[in-house]
């Protein structure tokens, strides 16, 4: 039996990370989750409860006040925590809010009274300018915070996250799209003045949140390929804001629970080669702990697939070329609940607070797995 090891084959993937972890091991940040009965709220609770540097001290709910967290989220039955009212917020280091659009913008002052750092998963602080809220939403109640807010996605905005105290989680469909297209933009393959970029998205039912209506009942929602946002989806605004690119966006509901998959059809001005694409994508994501390029190859899983990343904070991107090279098809797959929201914001919080980037986000997924 070898007795040399240190069990280092799990979290601390590099020495640098190990050092970082050592330095921060003593730090525990208290955290609260507003909207704890919701889907992304539950995902936050799962991730934060398993995070070495966070201690969850409050999860709010109006509808399940005083109930145990495990009653809503059976995977959290071992968590010794009860929901409490969002009207009675605890003082914490970091407040995560996972409420429907419009709630946080009305309560952000309050949030900052009780918390040093506010992380919001809704659309309320995602867009950089108030005018965009006028155009795509119903305006904004607290536009003065928009400049202060940092977009959470580290692959896009890592440089601005350290020290940020208002972090705005990206939209899940926008995240999938941005992760897929950014390397092409950076490589100059995709330019704003190019022709059309078509983004055809397929999403799971958890994207609709725990509320649900008739359309999300099991008999009606099972087995669908349903155009739910044929055109005019609000994530277009976010993509344009952060990628400098206008896209033609269509979203379909398909039969899975977790997952968002964006297929981007791009028509570069100049033909590109597969080698160019490999190089662009590889170099874009070489140092990213959560990104993988999956493109061709053998076996069953040759391109990005949501079920390959379900439950994880990973993103998979890949591409293929049309014969004649006039079209690049980009595939991007994430778990909408993790990389597409809760995981993304925990990742961003890790960066903001100087914690190891992968802390609390190590779960690597399952195989086989059904419709996760």
């Amino acid at each position: 039996m070898s007795e040399t090891g240190s069990g280092a084959d799990v979290a601390a993937e590099t020495d640098a990370a190990a050092t970082a972890e050592a330095e921060t091991a003593a730090e525990t940040y208290t955290a609260s989750v507003v909207g704890g009965t919701g889907f992304t709220g539950g995902e936050l609770l799962r991730l934060l409860a398993g995070h070495p540097n966070f201690e969850v001290v409050q999860a709010t709910s109006r509808s399940a006040d005083n109930m145990t967290v495990g009653r809503s989220h059976p995977n959290l039955r071992d968590l010794d925590l009860r929901f409490s009212s969002p009207d009675d917020l605890a003082s914490v280091d970091v407040l995560f809010s996972a409420t429907p659009h419009g709630v946080s913008m009305g309560r952000v002052d309050e949030y900052f009274e009780v918390a040093d750092t506010v992380v919001d998963l809704s659309a309320d602080f995602r867009l950089p300018e108030a005018a965009m809220y006028d155009e795509w939403y119903d305006g904004h109640e607290s536009p003065e915070y928009l400049e202060r807010a940092e977009y959470a996605l580290p692959e896009l905005n890592r440089a601005n996250l350290p020290g940020a105290d208002l972090i705005a989680g990206g939209g899940c469909n926008a995240t999938a799209t941005i992760l897929g297209l950014k390397p092409l933009v950076d490589a100059g393959v995709l330019e704003p003045e190019n022709g059309e970029v078509v983004v055809d998205v397929k999403v799971g039912s958890s994207e609709g949140g725990a509320g649900g209506g008739a359309a999300s009942s099991h008999p009606e929602r099972s087995g669908v390929v349903r155009p739910y946002a044929p055109t005019g989806h609000r994530h277009e605004a976010e993509i344009e804001a952060y990628l400098g690119l206008s896209v033609s966006f269509t979203v379909h509901a398909v039969d899975m629970v977790r997952g968002a998959s964006a297929t981007c059809h791009v028509f570069p001005d100049e033909p590109v080669s597969k080698g160019d694409l490999w190089q662009g994508y590889r170099s874009a994501y070489a140092d990213e702990p959560f990104m993988r390029v999956v493109s061709g190859g053998g076996g069953v899983y040759r391109y990005p697939e949501p079920k390959s990343v379900a439950g994880t904070n990973h993103g998979e991107v890949g591409f293929e070329l049309d014969p004649g090279n006039r079209r690049v098809v980009v595939f991007s797959a994430i778990d909408n609940m993790t990389k597409g929201s809760a995981g993304q914001t925990v990742h961003a919080a890790n960066v903001a607070l100087g914690l190891p980037e992968t802390a609390g986000l190590e779960f690597g997924g399952l195989h086989p797995v059904g419709s996760p």
């Binding site: 429907p100 659009h101 469909n173 994207e207 359309a215 946002a229």
Partner: protein, 62 residues
């Protein structure tokens, strides 16, 4: 239905086609077009005038 009143006719505001509506529609009622499925609001009676009903913005909460 074997009502004694006949269905009334109106113009579909989207396609311009003539459509049949129940005899007892009232102003303000929402009714779907048999041609396009669109929800229409009854704006006035005699003749029955229809307008596309304001779409309820469904928040898919992403």
């Amino acid at each position: 239905m074997t009502t004694d009143t006949d269905p009334v006719l109106a113009e579909d505001p989207i396609t311009g086609e003539e459509i049949e509506l129940p005899a007892d529609v009232e102003v303000g009622e929402i009714i779907d077009s048999p041609v396009t499925g669109t929800e229409l609001e009854v704006i006035s009676l005699d003749p029955v005038t229809l307008e596309e009903a304001p779409e309820l913005e469904e928040d898919w909460g992403e």
